[in-house]
Amino acid sequence: MADFRGYYDNPQASGAASPITEGRAARLALMLTAFAFLGIFLLLPLIVVFSEAFSKGTETYFSALTDSDTLSAIRLTLLVAAISVPLNMAFGVAAAWAIAKFEFKGKAFLITLIDLPFSVSPVISGLVYVLLFGAGSLLGPWLKAHGIEILFAVPGIVLATIFVTFPFVARELIPLMQEQGTGDEEAALSLGATGWQTFWYVTLPNVKWGLLYGVLLCNARAMGEFGAVSVVSGHIRGLTNTMPLHVEILYNEYNAAGAFAVASLLAGLALVTLVLKTLLEMRYGHAIAASRGH
């Protein structure tokens, strides 16, 4: 059978239409359909962001970016990501350790619970915190009496962001660590390593690329989240406005050039994320669970 492989795999060389691939016309039609679809739905929106951002010249572009409200939105977005990403990373590592290295009852249920935020609308993710901390809630009056601001302030934005980015690191690390098993750790422990040494010198090096991959996706979502943050932020300019929210405000004020200027930064972040993600998959695909279709 192997002798015929070359013939079947390379129909162009043989000149005949092979029975295990489509004819030339069908192939061309499928490729054109795919490219047209991707071009219209993915490429054009990306191009239009940059073209609109520079539509009024580079001067308008840079003055929109150096506006004080824009700068404070950028600062807030970075702050929120700097808090929520490490917390979700710590959770992801801990949860993956517990789930992948041990056998216990209710494990499948726990994994389902971790994935829960992905199946909840971002608006509902924000709503749950409004119901928990808002004026009509049990905690609301107590928080107000003690002068603690959560809603319409930075803590609420951080909480909503943590909620929507909750599963990213965990769902990358769990299948990866499950696949790697416990052999390496047991060997280290039997050679006298402590638990922490085992984690730092054995487990962490084994999962570092997967961890980086999860953190990358978590960060992209944390910086770009709109719905959940919009519900809890209160949209106070210069105070509780993240970059995506600032895009909305500028857009609704008919300042399209300004809105697209800020949007171009977020689109740039998305492109950098995609490039890094692709590089990680190319170089370390064997060490990343997600690239193997889990």
């Binding site: 795999d9 029975p19 295990i20 054009l44 990306l46 959770f91 009509g136 909620f163 919009s230």
Partner: protein, 283 residues
């Protein structure tokens, strides 16, 4: 998650020499409870305290019904479109060699990486009557931006990677020997695809459809810019929640959210059943 008595030979966890179980599981459960479970049960508690009668009257209210119909209807159409084109895209990426294949492959994940608000304003400016695509469709009398059609466009954008990324790995696993066998037994290419390949891909396609659909139902950021947001016409359910919140009508917002969660849960259950059925039949 109760610990069975050890005497019965069944334990909560299998013994292991690896340390840190208590610490990591304890931290994970505490964090999960604080961030996800307590806030979500707050929503459940709020909607339960509304009572079924109140919940039902909000659910069957004209505006809620219209918003739910638009949300679920547009999501259904968008997911169906994505099934067709997403499968074609996956096929082209898996089976054909062409320059720049890796770039195209990476591009498919753009909707995952691009913030939804950015996608929303970009699509709106493309499909507005004076936009690049909108100006071509306008003379034909087709209006996309600020109509329900715009909602479908935004949801197609959001859902595409779910279908491609679910179907693609399964396509890569297909053994070409199966196709060779079909061909040697006299099947033409069309028969091989419809009778041999399609049944094997069906569960993945259904899963991709379900994921794209579930994501689309909850989508907010990319839709609100292009939708026009007219009550009864182009107002989606997540937007109705936001509107109720802005009116300080917490009961109304909670009710709509609870109904959305219940319907989404039931639909996912149905799709899961369909999937296990198709896996049994074709698996």
């Amino acid at each position: 998650m109760t610990t069975a008595p050890a005497a019965a030979g069944r334990r909560f966890r299998t013994p292991s020499v690896i340390p840190g179980f208590g610490l990591t599981l304890g931290f994970s459960l505490a964090y999960l409870a604080l961030i996800i479970l307590i806030p979500l049960s707050g929503l459940a508690w709020r909607s339960a305290s509304l009572g079924w009668a109140e919940l039902w009257s909000i659910a069957t209210g004209e505006r809620t019904m219209a918003a739910l119909k638009i949300s679920f209807g547009a999501s259904l159409i968008a997911a169906a479109v994505n099934v067709v084109f997403g499968t074609i895209v996956a096929w082209v990426l898996v089976r054909y060699e062409f320059p720049g294949r890796r770039v195209v492959d990476a591009m498919v994940d753009l909707p995952f990486a691009l913030p939804t608000a950015v996608a929303g304003i970009a699509l709106t400016s493309l499909y507005a009557p004076n936009g690049w695509i909108g100006s071509l469709l306008d003379p034909l009398g087709i209006k996309v931006a600020y109509t329900p059609l715009g909602i479908v466009i935004a949801l197609i954008f959001i859902g595409l990677p779910f279908v491609v990324r679910t179907v693609q790995p399964v396509m890569e696993e297909i053994d070409t020997e199966v196709e060779e066998a079909a061909a040697t037994l006299g099947a033409n290419r069309f028969q091989t695809i419809t009778r041999v390949l399609a049944p094997g891909l069906a569960p993945a396609v259904v899963t991709g459809f379900a994921l794209a659909f579930a994501r689309a139902v909850g989508e907010y950021g990319s839709v609100i810019f292009i939708a026009g947001n007219l009550p009864y016409v182009s107002e989606i359910a997540p937007l109705l929640i936001v509107i109720r919140l802005e009116e300080y009508d917490y009961a109304g917002a909670t009710a709509v959210a609870a109904i959305m969660l219940i319907i989404a849960f039931v639909m996912l259950l149905v799709i899961n059943l369909l999937q296990s059925w198709s896996r049994r039949r074709y698996g």
